[in-house]
């Protein structure tokens, strides 16, 4: 691993490096199917015996805890551990706690110190019943419940950062032997198989030792030379090593797209992109293959905002064609009288994002705009472009899912998301049709997403036709193993390499 996990305490961790270990060590009421692609985004019961029973108004979720569960230290799992786990997560506090505090009754008061417990979560140890009440219907709430940060920990677990000695959990593996910023180990939990939880693998390898190395170059070299077994998919594979890897390790290397959207935002409230023709011209001229090459192939091209692997991704053709049409775009801009319009393109310093912007700026100039670049440091990029005082015309943007639900992506197209600071709706889209559809579709529970897949797809096709953004694809990450491991293990769309499905050759 070239990047250390942010925390190894499951109720603090947020980064990919952390959750790929926590996913198989800390199970919540719900979890995801251990499969590749869209099936991997399907919610399944974890420690709950079934998917939630959701009230008609979508505000009450009821679960029943499986019987006979034990934590990795042997303690019995009780239903009352769950409210405690949620309260610990809020109090500790987890970075994504607003997914809970914004919706669960009493959670905001608990977070603000105005209540001693979260009144909206009740549990009965005798029956194993757990009830969660929401202030308003929130269709993606089942996805929220599947975060490893909302997994069970024993009641009484200290409310402080336990990254150096992670608390007991229920999962196929036990997180242990933590040397901060150096290494940690996952040991197979011998008890887990006896719980017989359907669709959750019990693990093949006895021990998985994770070493954190100083740079990804040496990490890749070690895997290439079979001195280490897995190149962490959360790390960037050094492009300079790609030719060597592709020639020497072709059978143990693959690019795996992850549900994400990479796009150039087009500010619909400001010239020239308040003119639909200007936005369409950009979409027509964009050569997505060029951007994929700039990304060393780690970009799966696409033109729709909901990425592949997420329910609602349209199957139709791109509204402005798959091949770039520069001449058509130039004509359209001329017709709109926008030739020579000044455009400032905002971008980040890190590679290949800077190179994307170099390409995009050149493209805008070729279409007929008068484009200049403004590249700023990665750390201040999103706060800067999300500030109303900056009010950028166009630039780089991306979205990596919080959870596999189209509503998570459409937060960025929601007119209510436009804010003076930390704005995420960079194109400032406030379309009545989108707003109306979002009100309806966002209320559909995540467990019933398939029933509205076509409606999400229709909405996304509409967004593509209006050219509110210029989408060019989804990020791909490397799956790269040593030749000691079988290469057929599951590559999960959320948690990348599923360590519980690894096996030796």
């Amino acid at each position: 691993m070239g990047t250390a996990p942010d925390y190894l305490d499951p109720q603090l961790a947020y980064t990919t490096q952390a959750v790929e270990a926590h996913w198989i060590s800390y199970t919540g009421l719900l979890t995801y199917r251990h499969e590749e692609g869209e099936p991997g985004t399907q919610l399944i019961p974890g420690l709950a015996d079934a998917l939630p029973r959701i009230s008609d108004d979508g505000k009450t979720y009821e679960f029943t805890l499986r019987r006979g569960l034990r934590y990795s230290d042997g303690t019995a799992v009780r239903a009352s551990d769950y409210p405690y786990s949620i309260e610990r997560m809020i109090r500790i506090p987890w970075g994504g706690r607003s997914f809970v505090t914004n919706y669960v009754v009493g959670a905001a008061d608990f977070d603000a110190g105005r209540a001693r417990s979260v009144s909206g979560i009740t549990a009965d140890d005798a029956t194993g019943r757990i009830t969660i009440r929401l202030r308003e219907a929130y269709g993606a709430f089942s996805n929220v419940l599947a975060f490893p940060a909302l997994a069970f920990v024993p009641r009484g677990t200290a409310i402080r950062n336990l990254s150096n000695d992670p608390p007991p959990g229920v999962g196929a593996y036990i997180l242990t032997d933590v040397v901060p910023n150096r290494s940690f180990t996952l040991r197979k939990n011998p008890e887990f198989a006896s719980f017989r939880i359907p669709d959750i693998p019990t693990g093949n390898l006895d021990t998985i030792r994770v070493n954190i190395v100083s740079n990804t170059n040496s990490e890749a070299q070690q895997v290439l030379n079979n001195q280490a077994d897995i190149f962490d998919s959360g790390d960037t594979l050094p492009p300079a090593l790609l030719p060597q890897i592709e020639s020497q390790a072709r059978d143990r290397f693959a690019r795996k797209p992850v549900p994400s959207t990479f796009y150039f935002f087009l500010n619909t409230t400001k010239p020239p992109f308040n003119n639909e023709k200007a936005r369409i011209a950009v979409n027509m001229a964009m050569d997505r293959d060029a951007l994929s090459r700039i990304a060393s192939g780690f970009l799966e091209t696409d033109c729709f905002f909901i990425p592949r692997g997420i329910v609602g991704h349209p199957t139709s053709e791109c509204p402005y064609g798959d091949r770039p049409d520069l001449a058509g775009a130039q004509r359209m801009l001329r017709d709109a009288g926008l030739e020579g319009a000044p455009v400032t393109v905002w971008g980040q310093e890190r590679s290949p994002r800077k190179e994307y912007i170099d390409y995009y700026t050149d493209l805008l100039n070729k279409i007929g705009f008068r484009a200049t670049e403004r590249i700023i440091a990665d750390t201040v990029y999103f706060p800067t472009i999300g500030n109303a005082r900056t009010d950028p015309q166009t630039g780089f943007a991306d979205w990596l899912q919080d959870f596999p639900n189209p509503s998570d992506f459409y937060l960025l197209m929601d007119g209510r998301s436009i804010q003076p600071t930390n704005n995420q709706n960079f194109s400032k889209v406030n379309d009545p049709f989108i707003q109306r559809e979002l009100r309806r579709l966002n209320a559909v529970p995540a467990t019933e997403l398939d029933s509205v897949a076509d409606e999400w797809a229709a909405l996304d096709e509409y967004t593509a036709r209006r050219a509110y953004v210029a989408v060019y694809g989804a990020e791909a990450v490397p799956k790269f193993f040593s030749n000691k491991l079988n290469f057929d293990s599951v590559f999960h769309p959320l948690y990348f390499n599923d360590w519980s499905t690894l096996s030796l050759r």
Partner: protein
């Protein structure tokens, strides 16, 4: 007519009139003056004898000419601009069609033909075109920065040294303030902030991605390195008899500085000039490498090295070519600058030798610029 006793300080061996209209020269080493030969003419003679300095000067001149001919090369040979992307295009090399950038993102290497002579970068841009345009940008920044440094440092050095007192105190403290801050760090701080908001001084508006931004930054951060020695020289010169004579004749302070003192520090400025150009080019490259100099997509040698770093093992030409040009340009101007110094101040070399043999020298003029 007054004999200029400051001659040993300036090291030119020149004896000049108070009016500065004519000069006679003394041969170095205390020999008899060569009647009718000016110090600069003498320096030119000495420089002509220094073949190594001339060769490196010529090298630098060739690089400058090549870089300033970049548009001709781009239009008539490469047929592409410095920022034109050709990612998905193909080029015929030796009868075979090759991707400018491969599907896995590897750019083509040198083709040794008109298009992509030195290869392409990751965005499929012609490296040779970017190299020449980058050189032009780097040199322009170097020249403008040096111009700014020399002008401002001369004004500040003259004013501080001549007026002394409060003026000297204030200016010297400002110079100390700039001096105390590491050059690169100061450049990054100014570069980063100005790249975002541009520069606005009264009616003058400079956009963040203009070449003037790094030029002004570099020009300003190097002022103390020139102004301080000038101030030191002026402090000595202002006490000389020829300055007193001018003062007695009723010359104003400005006139004395311009007509009496400035000509006496001119040789110092000439010696500083190539060294400052070299330093400005290097600092520009460093700042651009760190993202605080020339703003993308405009090329400079520094940004080209930075862009190519991550592909070093598979496409070393991306860093080697701009790196080599940078080294050659700086080496050329530096060695030429040393030759100019030797020509204008042949005793400086003697004094260095004296230093090496532990002999105490009187007052050698130091031209080294420290970082």
């Amino acid at each position: 007519m007054a004999i200029d006793p400051a001659t040993p300080d300036t090291g030119t061996g020149a004896i000049r009139t108070a009016s500065g209209d004519s000069v006679v020269a003394a041969e170095p080493g205390g020999g008899a003056p060569a009647a009718g030969i000016g110090p600069y003419r003498l320096a030119r003679r000495r420089l002509r004898r220094n073949k190594v300095a001339l060769a490196f000067g010529a090298l630098f001149a060739i690089i400058v000419i090549l870089c300033f001919c970049a548009p001709l090369y781009a239009d008539h040979i490469a047929h592409t601009g410095p920022n034109d992307n050709h990612v998905t295009e193909k080029v015929t090399v030796g009868g075979k069609e090759k991707d400018v950038v491969s599907v896995s993102g590897l750019p083509i290497g040198p083709t040794w033909q008109g298009r992509f002579l030195l290869g392409a970068d990751q965005n499929g841009r012609d490296l040779a075109v970017r190299l020449l345009y980058g050189g032009r940008n780097s040199l322009e920044v170097g020249f403008i920065a040096t111009f700014i440094t020399m002008i401002l440092a001369t004004i500040v050095g003259l004013a501080a040294g001549y007026y002394r007192g409060v003026v000297d105190g204030v200016l010297a403290r400002i110079l100390d303030l700039i001096w105390a801050y590491p050059v690169v760090l100061l450049g990054i701080a100014l570069g980063t902030s100005l790249a975002l908001g541009g520069l606005s001084i009264g009616p003058i508006e400079v956009s963040g991605n203009s070449l003037f931004v790094p030029a002004v930054i570099i020009g300003v951060v190097y002022i103390p390195y020139v102004a301080k020695p000038i101030r030191g020289q002026v402090l000595g010169l202002r006490e000389k008899e020829f300055v007193d004579a001018a003062r007695v004749q009723g010359a104003s302070s400005l006139r004395i500085m311009a007509r009496e003192i400035l000509p006496n520090v001119a040789s110092t400025l000439i010696v500083f000039l190539p060294l400052m150009i070299a330093n400005a080019i290097l600092l520009e490259a460093a700042l651009s490498y760190l993202g605080a100099g020339i703003q993308p997509p405009n090329p400079s040698w520094g940004t080209m090295i930075s862009d190519g770093i991550r592909l070093i093992p598979s496409a070393i030409h991306l860093t080697f070519v701009p790196g080599a040009m940078l080294v050659l340009a700086v080496l050329g101007i530096n060695v030429f600058g040393d030759g100019v110094r030797d020509a204008l101040d042949p005793r400086a070399r003697v004094k260095i030798k004296e230093k090496e043999t532990d002999k105490v020298s009187d007052d050698p003029v130091e031209f080294a610029v420290e970082h």
